[in-house]
Structure formats: structure tokens, C-alpha cells
Symmetry: C2
Subunit: 203 residues, 2 copies
């Protein structure tokens, strides 16, 4: 059996993970700022002070929520795309995984990064910084996949991977709006047709 | 001089308009839900109950804020585009006005409809409904401009105006994210190049 301090620490870790998981569900619905320590504590059968002791600040909890979302995103969107063949297949897989992420994640809720993008664009500090860094990494990863398709000869040599990544993300952002806010039955077909045009122009 | 009741009513209207204007500025920064009656009252030198009496509910104030934003949007984006010649010029004008709206409106703050889109997508009720109706009208108006360009012979006959409008809006959404959250110095050039590709494919 592990020593007592280790068992306590791993119990602490498990509780902390459970709090962050629940906070992510809450944040997807009400935004990162809307996370209420009191509501969380009640949901999880913890005292407010006990819950708070795990993080020390609401900001740290918000950062942990973003880090958990980033892990889930990587596992749902990037990792499966990495396994696809380099070239157009990887770009297509990335796009389809993004649509699935927008469609499935946090029902109800939508993408926490997008909620964060519009909630935090004017609020300086570490949470905004974390959201910004995440989107910068995201942009770079999509551009890298497009560059791979150029190098594999699937996309034309003069394609600008950064522009392609930007256009692809625009299609996904519109899909999010049409699907989640407008509940437009054509959201998916509009997104796929826009993406088909992007691909056709990239080849 | 106007009768007393009329003067009182017009004074009431002016106060109400001043409250809604200030609430819009606040909402652009903190979201519609973040509007605090107490903060508003303090800002405007009114009592909370006096301010509240003008609307009867926070929800009514939120609806009034959206209606004011819709008026400003129409005056900044749609009205000037209406005066442009039908055809490609009108579509280009609409796009440029949209970029200017995202760039200029509510510094700091960003577009209140987009903030609303991500804040309210899972909150049923009249505010969500108002945001949804606004975006539906917006989509229809952009598609109408694209249809006008087809009818004027500037865009190809088999262009799908709804798809074109959806793609154009995707470019604007990405521009908002890059400009306001990421403060990407290339936001504008990426948006314009994406739009140029859209136009080239539409001709």
C-alpha cells in the first residue's frame, strides 16, 4: 500500500480532477466567468472553503478548466488527425474532427474556447493569455497540416497555409453559430460545401 | 410649449434612451448577462429603483439593448451598402462595412451580437430569440446582396447566394477572433485575401 501522504495526495488529485471536470461542464454552459464556486461545491457535496483550498483562486480553477479542455480537444481533434496519412487526408480529418467537436462537445454548451474568445477578448490577465495561446497553437497546427499537404504534392505549391488555415477556421466558426445558436438544419451541408470549395481551390 | 404630460414622457424617453445607450456600452464589455442594474444606476446618477422602473425587468433592458445595437448596425453596415450600386459593388461594400463594424464598434467590446451568440446559445427565452432572429435577418440580407450580383450578371448564374453569404460571414467571424482576441496584425489582410478568393470564385 502506498504511504499515507501519497494516498492523501492522490485522493486530493482525484477530487481536484473531479472539480475541474464539473467546472468545465458548467463553464461550457455559463462561461468561464460564470463558474460559481458555491454552485460547484453544492453539486459535488463539498464545502466552499474545501473546494477553494484545491485552487487558491477562481482564476487558477479557470486556467485548469482551460487546460482540461485543451487535453480533450487534443484527444478528440488533433490526435486522430495525426494518425491520418499526411496530405489532404489529414486536412480533411482535421476538419471533420472540428465539426464533430462543435457538434458533440458539452451538450449543452458549445466550444469553451469560443465562449472564452468572446467573453475574454477585453479582459486582460492570465485567463485571456491562456485562451490566446491556445488559439495561436491551434492556428499553427492547422497551417502545419496544410503545409504537409503542399509538401505531399496534394495542394498547389503556392498555397499559403496560414491563409488556408484561417479560411478553414472561418467555416468552422460559422458552423458553430449556425448549428448551436440558429439550429439551422443546413449548418453541416453549408460547412461541408464551403470546405469543398476551399479544397478544390487548394489542389 | 408642449403639455406637461408630453414633456414628462419625452423626458422619460430621453432617460430611457440614455440608460439603454450606457447599457449597450457595458454589455459590449461584459456581455448582456453581465449588465448590472446597480452599476448602471451609479454610472448615470440614478437610483436603482428609478432605473428599474423604466424597464420593469432586466430582460426588457437586454432586449432594448439588442434593438439599439440592431439600429446602429443597420445605420453602419446595411444603409451605406444599400446606396452602393447593385451587383458586386454592393457585396464588397457590405463586406468592408462589416470589417469596419468589427474593428470600430464598442472599443473595447467587439460585436454585441457575437458576444450574444456565444453567451446565449443555450439559454432559452426572449433574449436568445431576439439574437437568433437578428442573425437570420442578417444572413438573409447578405444572401440578397449576393443574389442581386447574380441578377446583375456580376456573379455566375449557378452561385448559391446562401452558401456565399455563409462563407462571407465565416471570414468576418474569423476576422473578429484574430483582430480582437489574438490582436493579429495580419487579421485584416487575411480577411481581405479570403474574401478576394470568394469573389473570384463567384464571378
Amino acid at each position: 500500500m502506498a504511504p499515507l501522504s501519497e494516498r492523501q495526495s492522490s485522493k486530493g488529485e482525484a477530487t481536484r480532477a473531479r472539480i475541474v471536470q464539473r467546472a468545465l461542464e458548467l463553464a461550457a454552459r455559463v462561461g468561464l466567468e460564470g463558474i460559481s464556486i458555491g454552485e460547484l461545491a453544492q453539486d459535488l457535496g463539498l464545502s466552499k472553503s474545501g473546494l477553494f483550498a484545491h485552487f487558491g483562486s477562481k482564476e487558477q480553477l479557470q486556467l485548469d478548466v482551460l487546460d482540461l479542455a485543451a487535453e480533450l480537444f487534443r484527444a478528440s481533434v488533433f490526435d486522430p488527425a495525426l494518425r491520418a496519412q499526411r496530405g489532404e487526408a489529414k486536412v480533411v480529418r482535421l476538419f471533420e474532427n472540428l465539426l464533430a467537436w462543435v457538434h458533440d462537445r458539452g451538450q449543452p454548451g458549445g466550444c469553451i474556447f469560443l465562449a472564452g474568445a468572446f467573453e475574454w477578448d477585453d479582459v486582460p490577465g492570465p485567463v485571456r493569455q491562456r485562451v490566446v495561446e491556445w488559439f495561436e497553437k491551434f492556428n499553427a497546427a492547422v497551417a502545419r497540416a496544410a503545409r504537409g499537404a503542399v509538401e505531399a504534392g496534394a495542394f498547389r505549391a503556392d498555397l499559403d497555409p496560414e491563409l488556408f488555415a484561417s479560411e478553414l477556421h472561418g467555416v468552422v466558426l460559422k458552423y458553430h453559430l449556425e448549428l448551436r445558436l440558429l439550429r439551422n438544419g443546413k449548418a453541416s451541408s453549408l460547412a461541408r460545401r464551403a470546405f469543398e470549395r476551399l479544397l478544390a481551390d487548394a489542389r
